[in-house]
């Protein structure tokens, strides 16, 4: 069985960048942001669920849909001629019926992309067009969901995020091979980070192919593609999907209080992943400490 590689992350952590990298590694061509579905379906693609199971998810309760997702993934895995790469923002979790949402029998493994939650908060706030404080609270909400509203039918099935820390820990404890990739390491050493991904996934990792993936997925190139053609995964209300992509940009945006609140809620997991909890990286007072930012603070 070809099986499924899960490309997992909390939203706005670099998942789309990872998919672009893998698309380039698989194809040996420059990445095209509007052709990422050649890798495989999004794990919450409603038509993939409906067509795979021969049912209509729109008629079912949210609980029924979640309980049936493992069956859909088993069908996808059984019918795939090649390994498929499925993006997901779900936490690794059990369905209400008590079985793993991502069934081991259909799974080859997962790449889990993680990003400093302070940077995630800023990016997620722009992505959702919601105030920063609301976003920070959402990242600390054990019941947080993504893409679920009773009054609207989405083309995607809803995802359960949990708290940011719980999301990370859930995937680190998944019972199959998980390659953890820090967004910050993709930035600092893309060639090394992408080669590690290629080795984990069993993809070609010769220097030429890695160099092409690095070159064609540079943030400014993804940004330029979005400006030129648009990006069909951009939320309607977001101004741009590839907005800033920075590692340290949160220091200009978050107030000291906001950054401290995130660190207080998620400090243990942040430290486990090597994130510095101090506001200023070198002991100096950061911008955030010097002046509170009014931007997006509602």
């Amino acid at each position: 069985m070809a099986g499924i590689w899960w490309l997992a992350s909390y939203p706005k952590s670099g998942n789309t960048w990872l998919r672009a990298v893998i698309a380039s590694l698989v194809s040996g061509r420059a990445a095209d942001i509007n052709s990422l579905d050649v890798l495989g379906s999004n794990a919450i693609y409603r038509f993939g669920f409906d067509d795979g199971l021969g049912i209509e998810s729109a008629a079912l309760s949210f609980e029924q849909v979640t309980n049936l997702r493992p069956r859909a993934y088993e069908v996808w895995a059984a019918e795939a001629a090649e390994p498929i790469y499925c993006k997901t923002h779900d936490a690794y979790r059990a369905t209400p019926a008590g079985e793993p949402l991502f069934p081991a029998a259909a799974t080859r493994g997962a790449v889990y992309v993680v990003r400093d939650p302070r940077a995630v908060a800023v990016s997620f706030s722009h992505h959702s067009a919601r105030p920063l404080d609301e976003t920070i609270a959402r990242m600390d909400d054990p019941h947080a969901v993504f893409g679920r509203a009773a009054g609207q039918l989405y083309q995607q099935i809803h995802e359960q995020l949990y708290r940011w820390s719980d999301h990370v820990e859930s995937w680190l404890a998944a019972p199959f091979p998980v390659h953890v990739l820090r967004f910050e390491d993709m930035h600092a050493d893309p060639a090394g980070a992408f080669a590690g991904v290629a080795r984990f996934l069993g993809l070609p990792c010769d220097p030429e192919r890695i160099a092409l993936a690095v070159e064609s997925t540079a943030f400014f190139r993804l940004q330029a593609q979005e400006r030129a053609t648009g990006f069909r995964e951009k939320p309607y209300k977001a101004e741009a999907f590839f907005r800033e992509g920075s590692v340290e940009g949160w220091r200009r945006v978050l107030t000291a209080e906001q950054a401290t609140r995130i660190a207080a809620a998620h400090g243990a997991v942040m430290q486990r992943l090597g994130y510095d909890l101090r506001l200023a990286p070198s002991g100096e007072a950061s911008d955030a400490e010097q002046r509170p930012a009014a931007h997006l603070t509602a």
């Binding site: 038509f47 409906d50 199971l53 021969g54 008629a59 029924q64 049936l68 069908v75 039918l153 648009g230």
Partner: protein, 304 residues
């Protein structure tokens, strides 16, 4: 209590409420074409020749759906449906399953072709709005109804290709199932409408009066594409690509394949495409303004 409904011209008797369907308005003494009964259903088909996670089939005439949280539903020969609900089954979900997936299976067993589409009459000509769930089929149909078009089917465009010389659309009803955000967009108050689902804010919207049983030739089929960028646009799809594209919009196509319908579907779609029906891709990016523009654009396909 048994209720009688009109299902694309047939008399359907049901032990279950099916508010998506119009009530039967013909002679009550007429024998039913389809009967949905409450009863005992075995957990699996004897000597099934296709077993999928949720359904099993045997030959072209037997289909069993085993849906946890709803129950087991056996469909035989396009006419007999037996339902054994789970103890915790939700009535509205059961009803939606019967008028959705089970209806699709009934048509496949009867040798008809259900497309996943709403159908409107524009200047008296039938236009199918095809799309997967959440594409905006019903929303666009409601918007066209507001412009004076008649809605003649929601969610299933039933094509009868059994007469090789005359492929026709069998009309259904004018009742659309719509989510609250779509109703808000067209300025309809959801609180005044009958609820279609328990957990989700979906409602029934009646667009026009009773639909006549007169069959129509399909003038055009539009594939609604929301997973898109750029602006609203129409593009004609020709020949074999039209057939291949429509095949992705067969209602319940996986159960249909298990029932052995694939070759018949291909033949029906080929006849449909060669009967004069034009096929188009309608690109509709996200956003209310794009829906408005798309609704205004749709009638232009009849000028081709």
């Amino acid at each position: 209590m048994t209720r009688a409904y009109r299902l694309h011209g047939l008399k359907l008797d049901s032990d279950f409420d099916l508010p998506a369907l119009p009530s039967w308005d013909g002679p009550m003494e007429l024998a039913s074409d389809i009967a949905i009964r409450r009863g005992t259903v075995a957990p699996r088909l004897d000597r099934a020749d296709h077993v999928a996670p949720l359904f099993q089939t045997r030959g072209g005439g037997e289909y069993l759906l085993a849906l946890p949280g709803t129950g087991r539903i056996l469909v035989r020969n396009g006419s007999a449906v037996t339902v054994e609900p789970d103890s915790d089954a939700d009535e509205m979900t059961t009803s939606a399953i019967l008028t959705g997936p089970i209806q699709g299976v009934l048509w496949h067993q009867r040798g008809l072709l259900p497309l996943h589409a709403a159908v409107v009459l524009i200047d008296g000509r039938a236009v199918a709005l095809c799309g997967h769930a959440a594409a905006g089929k019903s929303t666009l149909a409601a918007m066209l109804a507001a412009r004076g078009c008649a809605v003649i089917a929601d969610d299933i465009c039933l094509i009868d290709g059994r007469d090789r010389d005359q492929v026709s659309v069998v009309p259904g009803g004018a009742r659309l199932r719509m989510w609250r955000d779509a109703l808000d967009h067209i300025g309809r108050d959801a609180s005044a409408l009958e609820r279609a689902l328990s957990e989700q804010e979906a409602y029934f919207l009646d667009c026009n009066g009773p639909v006549s049983s007169e069959r129509h030739k399909l003038a055009a089929a539009l594939i609604i594409s929301r997973w898109t960028i750029g602006t609203v646009g129409l593009k004609r799809i020709h020949g074999v690509w039209a057939v291949a594209t429509l095949e992705r919009f067969i209602h319940m196509r996986r159960p249909a394949a298990a029932l052995g319908r694939a070759p018949h579907i291909f033949a029906d779609l080929t006849r449909l495409a060669s009967s004069g029906a034009t096929v188009w891709r309608l690109r509709v990016p996200e956003g209310a303004a794009c829906l408005d523009e798309a609704a205004a654009t749709i009638p232009t396909v009849l000028e081709a």
